[in-house]
Amino acid sequence: MTQSTLANEFDYSSVDREQWLHMYEQMCKIRAFEENANELYLSRKMPGLTHLYIGQEAVAVGVCEALRKDDYITSTHRGHGHCVAKGASLDRMFAELLGKEAGYCRGKGGSMHIADQDTGNLGANAIVGGSAGIATGAGMSIKMRGTDQVSICFFGDGALGQGLLYETMNMAQLWQYPVIYVCENNQYNEYTHNRETAAGSLKARAEAFGIHSQEVDGQDVRAVYATMQRLVARARGGEGPAFLLCQTYRFLGHHVGDVNREYYRSKEEETYWKSERDPLKNLVAWMTAAGLAETSLFAQIEQDVQAAVTAAVDFALNAPYPQLEEVTQHVYA
């Protein structure tokens, strides 16, 4: 796996032990959230489908750990991880997944559209690459309003096929907007490997605009965080946009119903990533080896997270649906 130069230069000991533990907790939260979302689907308690983030947790957490609450993110159809990592409450997220009034969008958005302006989340987006305009426009707005916020555009390798991304990257670099384009290369455009869909180098696409570009091991939250720290500092300091290519893997299917995947990828491949490249296990192994924490501490974190997630699911299951007259509310502001 490629490590970014910046990450290699980064002194991990400069990061507080508590902060690493917080990142672990955040990754645990995302995984537990997704496992429960899957269970809600399988038990037919959740309407529709959802796209699980399991396997990619280090990207969302490493990126968002380097952000402030008032920094913006835009997210994707596979967006629960970004939402949790930016600080959303699990109970209101589950409520949204179940179409309940207590949800972040009063049940009107669902899994693919959770937005939470209080944590700077401008919304998940069900159009692949569709949020590149919003994230870049947020960067434009930051510059015009003269604040030192940054705007993060999360997207997958599938979005590299969309023209909007290149139109907006061009303008972000031309006008030096504080936007960081985070490409999560989980290798698959739905059910098709990107070697069948993407010509040339992925990173070179951003480099063609002169955008500062980095590649990082997306299974290593330390590397993602360390690299993002630098990119965020650059953007805040007025040095313009950046592109961060995170090499990662989607442990499960394109969506919860994508169970039989042998026709597009092997079980051996999945097993390798799950056993050797799990971002949660990676962090535990490093922290344990470095003497930063005992195994029992991680078990305690996992237990606490499970309890919180269970409570959040119960909250959502017991929450009321929206009133029917809500259907015509909020079409216009």
Binding site: G123, I127, G130, G133, G137, A138, M140, M144, M171, V331
Partner: protein, 335 residues
């Protein structure tokens, strides 16, 4: 078009000047308002509508963009969600095809999908209308497309007075608003008062009162309807010309009330007739005034063909005053 007499505090200015005044006044009033588009700054747009703005407000607020309609519309959506009030300039109405995902899936739905939390106070200004010998990709009137999408407001002014007042309202609105300006109207003149005024959305304007037949007309077709009404008056037919001014929200009551009064109606719009604005407006009248009607509600839209280049062909595709007169005569049994 005859130039109306102006009272002392009213100037006679062009449609283009009215648009420019509205934008300039709003930019002076609100620092959050800015313009982005292709050739909007030093060039002042290809139709010279925005000439002078960059000199007053600078290139940070009147921004020449790359030729990236989807991209600049997306930037507008993101800037609007995060506190700015962008005006996105799309040079020709035909190019809204390139903005569709950003307008339809992003701008229009953000407020609803977020449960009312996020707002998109953005204006997309663009053009409509044929008759400039510009052929099939620079001549369409596609306002029906945006009018079809819940969450968007659509403005379609026909006079300098309306253009200024509606543009100011659009800029102050907290929703995505598309404003379609007829290219052929830019140099037409009309009375516009000095000083501040706005025109509310969803309020139709009776451009001419009459009692025998209602001509509902939009944008470029208002002038066509007024010319037809003049001819019809000479034939003893009193035509009322109703201009909805905004497609969304639509002043349904004004259309129905006029049709009830006259008992006949023709809807005239420069969009393609098939599945278009005329169908929607005719349906509103047919539903609301059915028991008062003495004839079927008729529709006149652009011919359902790609707009041809050759002048002799292009002129066949757009409703004309003569065509309206003939249809009105037939409806009123005056043949």
């Amino acid at each position: 078009m005859s130039t109306p007499e102006a009272p002392p505090n009213v100037r006679i200015i062009t449609f283009a000047e009215a648009i420019r005044e509205a934008i300039a006044e709003e930019m002076r009033r609100d620092k959050l308002v800015f313009v982005i588009g292709e050739d909007v700054a030093e060039a002042g747009t290809v139709f010279k509508v925005l000439v002078g703005l960059v000199e007053e407000f600078g290139p940070q607020r009147v921004i020449d963009s790359p030729i990236s309609e989807a991209g600049i519309t997306g930037l507008g959506v993101g800037a609007a969600i995060t506190g700015m009030r962008p005006i996105v300039d799309i040079m020709f109405g035909d190019f809204i095809t390139l903005t569709m995902d950003q307008m339809v899936n992003q701008a229009a739905k953000t407020h609803y999908m977020s449960g009312g939390k996020l707002k998109v106070p953005m204006v997309l200004r663009t053009t409509l209308g044929a008759s400039r010998r510009s052929a099939a990709q620079h001549s369409q009137s596609l306002h029906a497309w945006f009018s079809h999408i819940p969450g968007l407001k659509v403005v379609i002014p026909s006079t300098p007075y309306d253009a200024k007042g509606l543009m100011k309202t659009a800029i102050r609105d907290d929703n995505p608003v598309a404003i379609f300006e007829d290219k052929m109207l830019y140099q037409t003149k009309g009375p516009v008062p000095e000083g501040e005024y706005t025109i509310p959305f969803g309020v139709a304007d009776i451009k001419r009162s009459g009692s025998d037949i209602t001509l509902v007309a939009t944008s470029s077709m208002v002038q066509v309807a007024l010319e037809a009404a003049e001819v019809l008056a000479g034939l003893g037919i009193s035509a009322e010309v109703v201009d909805p001014r905004t497609m969304v929200p639509l002043d349904r009551q004004a259309l129905v009330d006029s049709a009830k009064k006259t008992s006949r109606a023709i809807v005239i719009d420069e969009g393609y007739q098939g599945y278009g604005v005329t169908a929607e407006l005719a349906s509103v009248i047919a539903d609301g005034a059915f028991y008062y009607l003495d004839a079927p509600v008729k529709r006149m839209g652009a011919m359902d063909v790609p707009v041809p280049f050759s002048p002799v062909l292009e002129d066949l595709t757009v409703p004309t005053a003569q065509g309206v007169v003939e249809m009105a005569k037939a409806l009123c049994n005056k043949n």
